[in-house]
């Protein structure tokens, strides 16, 4: 049965997507979680639905439209966040729902063919194609090209932006580059986890990793490993139970998180017990 599992091309593509996704989302998600921009990222993902609808309407690749909407909203929020007068969370909520509304309007205006909305809302890793793998590879290379040479700078500006600004480094430039990569990651992985579930790839492995380390680099490595393990488990559950892959992957990721939490709690209880028998 396990050998059967690897026989099909779509399974191999799914495995490749899992690995690429774990690396990209592991790194970008750590940035998202530690900079507390989970809500922003949710907003970007949902706003990109407007671009998806626009793509359908004009008959171009919907994910291209989503990428444009994602980038504009991601960089837009980063730009607006410097004005303290703005209620950032409210702006994000408006962007979130406006994007969804635009998407629905465009899709309902599109004559004839009704696209398979479910696959965009919930994703399907088993429908990943070779061109998707190319896009995911390029995105991963972009992410590594920013995070490998500039890791410490990114760490320091995420921790204390104002102090970084006093250090004569281009803080704003890096914030915009990072916002762009966050948006692209969210949009590219709509294919795998869907608009509604993509946030989980960027938050659950990272929060599991955060249970065990206070070292940012180690958290990224752990997130990558946990994300990949969760994706593999999810794929198997999906294959065995004929369950949509997005849901089974998230189920597995949460399972890993709960196992990690419980393991940590037991470990701490034992340590206490040894100290005060």
């Amino acid at each position: 049965m396990i050998l059967d599992f690897f026989k099909y091309d779509f399974i191999l593509y799914a495995l490749a997507a899992s690995l690429l996704g774990s690396i990209t989302a592991g790194i970008i998600g750590t940035y998202v979680v530690t900079r507390r921009m989970v809500f922003i990222t949710g907003g970007i993902t949902h706003a990109s639905f407007g671009g998806l609808g626009l793509g359908f309407f004009f008959g171009i690749n919907p994910l291209l439209g989503a990428a444009v909407f994602g980038l504009v909203s991601g960089i837009g929020v980063e730009y607006l966040s410097q004005f303290h007068k703005i209620r950032e969370d409210s702006v994000i909520a408006m962007m979130w729902s406006f994007g969804m509304a635009l998407g629905i309007i465009f899709i309902s205006l599109t004559p004839g063919y009704a696209p398979n909305l479910m696959s965009y809302l919930f994703g399907n890793i088993l429908s990943v194609s070779s061109s998707d793998i190319w896009i995911m590879s390029i995105l991963m290379i972009l992410v590594l090209a920013l995070f490998v040479p500039f890791f410490r700078l990114i760490q320091y500006l995420t921790f204390d932006e104002e102090f970084a600004r006093t250090s004569r480094v281009p803080v704003s430039l890096f914030k915009y580059l990072l916002a762009g990569l966050v948006a692209l990651t969210a949009v590219v992985y709509i294919r795998v986890a869907g608009i509604i579930l993509v946030l989980s790839l960027l938050t659950i492995p990272q929060n599991t990793a955060l249970l065990f380390s206070n070292n940012l680099k180690r958290i990224m490595w752990l997130s990558i490993g946990i994300g990949f393990l969760g994706s593999l488990l999810g794929l198997m559950i999906s294959y065995a139970g004929n369950i949509p892959s997005g849901a089974s992957i998230i189920f597995s990721l949460v399972l890993l998180y709960l196992t990690g939490s419980a393991g940590k709690a037991i470990f701490h209880a034992r340590k206490k017990h040894h100290k005060h028998p």
Binding site: P149, R152, E162, A164, R165, T166, F174
Partner: protein, 244 residues
């Protein structure tokens, strides 16, 4: 040598001026106490020196080779950010190493040295969020010191710390001031007069007082009214008049 020179610098928010035509020169060997009422513009001047604010008018002259260590008044960071005390101190080297900053063995040695100086050597591996207010302040002073700056600027360093740490901090600054110029900002005159060598009074305008002997009359004449009486250890000798 002049480390920092402000020439007739003005700044404000919207059309409300906060500081007006401020002149200040900080030289090697200086230990300046900057005092003045809350909202008088002390932090604004500091933020202009640190390049966080663009002045409306005037000139800020800081030679390229001058490196300034900075302790901000408030720390705007997430307590749960996963970063160790050691890493926070190392982040003070960002301005030296630039965007591709890496950490060498030498840097780590220097960080250990600085952590020892601020009394935090034992807690190097702790997460920053686990520390008390006073411990955090020591770490941030360590971050300001690690790059061996020619000038150290501390903006209200004792706001969130207990009395014991306050005394230790002034002892530490005394030590640092032997090799580094210091600009110490406080809204509380009594706290700092015994440590500093000269005083700058800021209340929209800046008046420089070239000694640490100050009286209420002088403060009054500087339009910088601060109550000295409540702090017993302030000298009450009236000084001969002098040119501000």
């Amino acid at each position: 040598m002049n480390l920092v020179e402000l020439k007739s610098v003005s700044f404000g928010y919207r059309d409300e001026p906060v500081i007006d035509q401020v002149n200040l020169v900080i030289r090697e060997g200086d230990f300046i106490g900057m005092i003045g009422p809350n909202g008088g513009g002390k932090s604004t001047i500091i933020r202009i020196i640190m390049g966080l604010l663009e002045p409306w008018s005037g000139e800020v002259i800081i030679p390229k080779e001058i490196n300034i260590g900075y302790l901000p008044q408030t720390h705007n960071f997430d307590n749960r950010f996963p970063i160790s005390v050691l890493e926070v101190v190392l982040s003070g080297l960002l301005k030296i190493h630039g965007i591709t900053t890496r950490v060498s063995k030498q840097d780590k040695k220097r960080a250990a040295e600085v952590l020892g100086k601020v009394g935090m050597a034992d807690l190097a591996k702790r997460s920053i969020g686990e520390l008390s207010g006073g411990q955090m302040q020591r770490v941030f002073i360590g971050r300001a010191l690690i790059s061996s700056p020619q000038l150290l600027i501390l903006d209200e360093p004792v706001t969130y710390v207990d009395n014991r740490f306050e005394q230790e901090l002034y002892n530490l600054l005394e030590l640092i001031s032997r090799e580094t110029a210091i600009l110490l900002v406080s809204h509380d005159v009594g706290q700092i007069v015994s440590s500093v060598r000269t005083i700058a009074c800021v209340n929209r305008q800046l008046h420089y007082h070239p000694s640490n002997q100050i009286t209420e009359e002088i403060l009054e004449s500087y339009n910088c009214p601060i109550d000295l009486i409540t702090h017993g250890h302030v000298p009450h000798r009236v000084l001969p008049t002098h040119q501000p």
